[in-house]
Symmetry: C2
Subunit: 377 residues, 2 copies
């Protein structure tokens, strides 16, 4: 559905002189800048979350002895710790203002991320004077991770665009979504983007169904997700970095450093929906009411330092790429990618241009768990 609404002609020549990247660089970069400045986005969301807890949290003070929070896709911090402390302070404030005697609420925080996350480092970063009990929970958040009705507040930021897996059709020679010679939906036939979109829809459905079981009625879920702006038909215009990665991989296959098979079997497991597309998926799940859905507005940032960009690119992609291509080629691969980024002058362009209406939208969404008579459970 979303795929249809954003149908457009595939781009020509994503590699070679990186002319595509030349022409649409600043939007692309912005999706990275979002990651680089998550803290800034989280600071804005902080106020939203405080408001959410004061106005929307539907849990009675009298029955509350333990308040349980989950941060899904927490990574290694320190952002997750800041988020969690904000939630706890807001909850304490709310219940203490309702009931002066209400001091005995305990807090349990589950920090979740993939099993490959560095939980050891996360655990070492916990403050020693913790005001909460802390636990790490490994596993994909599209699955059930917690007992039934055990959570009061779920937070998930900058993570939902990662797919649980690459859509099967991309590897199927008999499918119109066969993604031969590409690593993403940019520059491919529309069927490829539709396959990505369908996988995202499945993932969001699983995510919401799992959380519907785990959240208590009246509990809240705050999400931040980077979306493509509504009405932008250039679904191929926001991922120049992935295109540059594709060009790098092809070059390395041409030179025999990687095999064709290795490159052909790699697809990038990320999907950024439009706000409208996401809204439709959220509305489809009757366990939650959408209490708020709006962009986080924050000033654009210049990023012209290639070293910072590469650190961030490696931080975000290294595990994924190492998992597929192995450790031996990593440095070579990122060196080549770096050269391509410099060559196509994304960075200098981005610092010259002003941010237009086409930049990635960081969408803040607040969902509330409701009783759901129509659902099957």
């Amino acid at each position: 559905m979303a795929g249809k609404s954003t149908r457009s002609s595939p781009m020509k020549g994503g590699d070679g002189q990186y002319s595509y990247a030349h022409n649409s660089s600043y939007q692309v970069l912005l999706s990275f800048v979002l990651y680089m400045n998550q803290r800034e986005g989280l600071e804005i969301a902080k106020v939203f979350i405080k408001e959410a807890i004061v106005e929307k949290l539907g849990i009675k003070s009298s029955s509350l002895e333990l308040f349980t929070i989950a941060d899904l896709g927490c990574s290694v911090g320190p952002n997750t710790l800041v988020v969690v402390e904000n939630i706890i302070d807001s909850v304490k404030h709310k219940y203490q203002s309702i009931d002066q005697k209400k001091e005995a609420v305990e807090f349990l925080v589950f920090f979740n991320d993939h099993v490959s996350n560095d939980f050891n480092t996360l655990f070492k970063s916990f403050p020693s004077d913790n005001q909460y009990f802390a636990a790490g929970v490994p596993g994909p958040f599209q699955d059930r991770l917690f007992p039934k009705a055990s959570l009061h507040f779920v937070h998930c930021s900058y993570s939902l665009h990662w797919l649980s897996k690459v859509p099967n059709e991309l590897m199927d020679q008999n499918s119109p979504a066969w993604n031969e010679g590409r690593i993403y939906h940019t520059n491919g036939p529309n069927a490829v983007r539709e396959a990505y979109s369908a996988q995202f829809a499945k993932d969001i459905e699983s995510f919401l169904n799992a959380r519907a079981e785990e959240l208590v009625h009246g509990g809240l879920m705050a999400l931040i997700i980077a979306c493509l702006p509504d009405g932008v038909s250039s679904q191929s215009s926001d991922f120049a970095f992935i295109d540059l990665l594709e060009a790098t991989l092809k070059e390395m296959a041409d030179e025999g450093i990687l095999t064709e098979d290795e490159v052909d079997s790699f697809n990038f497991p990320q999907y950024n929906p439009t706000p409208a597309e996401l809204g439709t998926l959220l509305e489809r799940n009757c366990s939650f009411s959408i209490e708020r859905m709006e962009p986080l507005v924050r000033p654009a940032r210049k990023v012209s330092d290639i070293q910072s960009v590469m650190s961030m690119v490696r931080a975000l992609w290294e595990e994924l790429i190492e998992g597929h291509f192995g450790n031996d080629v990593l440095d070579e691969l990122f060196d080549r990618l770096k050269n391509k980024i410099v060559e196509c002058s994304i960075l200098s362009q981005s610092s010259k241009k002003q941010v237009g209406e086409k930049q990635m939208v960081e969408l803040y969404v607040l969902l509330k768990r409701k009783a759901c008579p129509d659902s099957l459970y």
Copy 2:
């Protein structure tokens, strides 16, 4: 108290020709063999735990939707996974035999160990078809780690002999327990052993107080701890490996590889109580009833392979020693220790001797959380 009952003359010459080790080697080794064959001890305890759950677990089936287990000092597995699965199978069996319809119980398992434990490795070893929700909890188990009344079953094996810290008095020149020139209570004045014993008592008290808050009434706690046999006056006869470590450290200080200060400020944070000593400490806490307390009896094992012994010694001690002396001296230190172990022929002696009554006792203890009108909380 325990210190007084086991008073004895300090040994002479713990280093040099390792004559002490010569004379009392097999008991010493046995405490290591316990660690090397934890799985065997756990297999025996498995039956005890099954019985405990059937006969002693005081939680009504009707009210039970979530059963929460904590394994304290879990290390990296696979033992912890085997233990947890046994507990879950036993609980399922119990409740299904009471109530055929009782299928809906969910299980949440907290795996706890020090923050320095390798949780990343532990998490990767979780089976993909887990029948429970799993979470890692970093931190010392002498502290509160979980919310009030949130646990139904606590397991803690082969961990309680580790002290939360070295007793302060050992470093105090004005204390009779000043432990100059030694790294343990063997060969020292009685005040040193008393300081160790007092620290152990404090740790057990904190451990029990924390668990008393965390366990639901009727919940169970199964412990396995290596104890010195009652009535053995030779408190200095079970720790030849530690004495050999002391000799190694002194030798390295004499040669200028380590400083005197480094060696003087190191003390080994382990204490093995006698069963009577432990029993007194357990009885002192009125929140628990002692439901069972008996040795795990299992066949003695010959261990003559120095490589296996060294792997195990390093696995157990490396982190502790690295934390104090740094990484650079580790290989040298363990090489020297290995030579001393070979030289004093502990291993060949242990394989010739039969196990006598002086071996370390692996004590299995089952505690049940009771309502406690006399306690302060």
